[in-house]
Amino acid sequence: MISEILINSALDVSMLTLNSNDLILKNKDEKFGQYLFKTKKEIMPNDSLEINFEFEYQITPINGHQSFNAIVDNGSLRISNYFPSIGYQLDHEISDEIERKKRAMAALPALDSVHAPIENPYNYQFINLNVLVSTSADQSAICVGELTDHYSINHRNYFHYRAENIPFRFAVSSAKYAIQKSNYGDVSIEIFHDPKHHQNISHLIKSIQKTLAYCENNFGKYPYQTVRFAEISSFTRGFAATAYPATIYINEKQFHLNLTGGEGQDVINELAGHELSHQWWGNALLKPVYRQGSGVLTETLAQYTQLMLYKNEYGEAKMLEMVEVYREMYESSKAFSGEEALYSADPDNANVINKGLVKMYELYLLIGEAKINAALRALLEASVSVEAGDYAGFVG
């Protein structure tokens, strides 16, 4: 039963309207962006109510920066971070232990152990998303899921996207995109890019096709009709690429790379393998409960997929080079933070990436690709049935 609802608005946005026929505003706290509502009647399980919002955001221009994208991304491009959220926001807390001690704050509770019980049924808090994005007449807007419609009215371009059963995590980009299309079977492949950055597009498309073929043959059907890669400005720092349902945003720097110069790695192949495999490992298909070890089911498995794709493309010797790169990172981080078992690793620790790839390689030597892939396919099938409510004590 619920009688009070706390709504959290990002401080950077201006909330213009926030109302609901079922709620009465009890307190508004602008300093913390908190709106506390009382329900008109107690909400029972399975009661549904509507909350309406209207808000706007204005980015302060940053001197000297000319991004080709003119993305309205407030840097993170993850627009869902700026959408209101409900309840207490754990990610507002100070997580640095030394800082907490300095301020005489109690230590944060430890991350749930890998053995901690899981509610049955577990609420994954997945959403159905229905988005109409509009942008200026010379631009296209990219969101997540399937594009169901697009049109122009009054010098504005409109794009209607829908996605079902996805985590509350979505993004938009907008740019003067050129588009290159291809397909893998009945899956449509679309690359949205700066017209000047065409050098690596056909290689990217081939890498996407190979990744789809590998993942579908070994793990299960790709869950969408479209694979969309959209280039975003290097203005958005902090990542090379990031995966959302059906859409992967890729930093423009990756489009500039000269892949034919010398004996460098094939970053496009790595990136397509890793990011696209997150459609199996970490989005709607396999969404582990955040706790110790959960990063193994997303990052480590994406690293494994990337490694196998690299091996299939360039052979065992090049695969070993990749293993050595990650082994070095793993060894050097071990010197700082000590050894950490992978199965109970902090999901935010780079171990799940670096050590993860090394250990998956060792497992590959021990039991081989076919057995690993059969186990991963079984894991996915079990996970999908768990999410459908058929929880049978499966922890992964």
Binding site: M1, I2, I5, F32, Q34, I43, P45, D47, S48, L49, E50, N52, F53, E54, F55, E56, Y57, Q58, T60, A70, I71, V72, G75, S76, R78, N81, F83, P84, I86, G87, Y88, H92, E93, I94, E99, R103, Q125, I127, L129, N130, V131, L132, V133, S134, T135, S136, A141, F168, S174, A175, R237, G238, F239, T242, H274, H278, E299, P347, A350, I353
Partner: protein, 70 residues
């Protein structure tokens, strides 16, 4: 590696509204004022219906939306 690089990188580079100390004070006070909501049952969002109007030429956007919660 990407899911890890989620939040905060823009803030750390470009966000000048508050000093680090002010942000930490804010976070501490948020926890003190609202921490009790950790244990109060809250509804979850099941459906998001939204229009997002992007205005790239002036780095702005406008959002209207409905959350269905239960």
């Amino acid at each position: 590696m990407i899911l890890l690089a989620s939040t905060g990188f823009y803030l750390s580079e470009n966000y000048t509204k508050n000093s680090n100390e002010e942000e930490l004070n804010w976070a501490q006070n948020y926890e003190a004022n609202y921490g009790h909501f950790k244990t109060i049952s809250q509804p979850t969002i099941t459906d998001v219906e939204t229009t997002i109007d992007l205005y790239p030429e002036r780095n702005a956007y406008h959002v209207k939306e409905v959350y269905f919660v239960e």
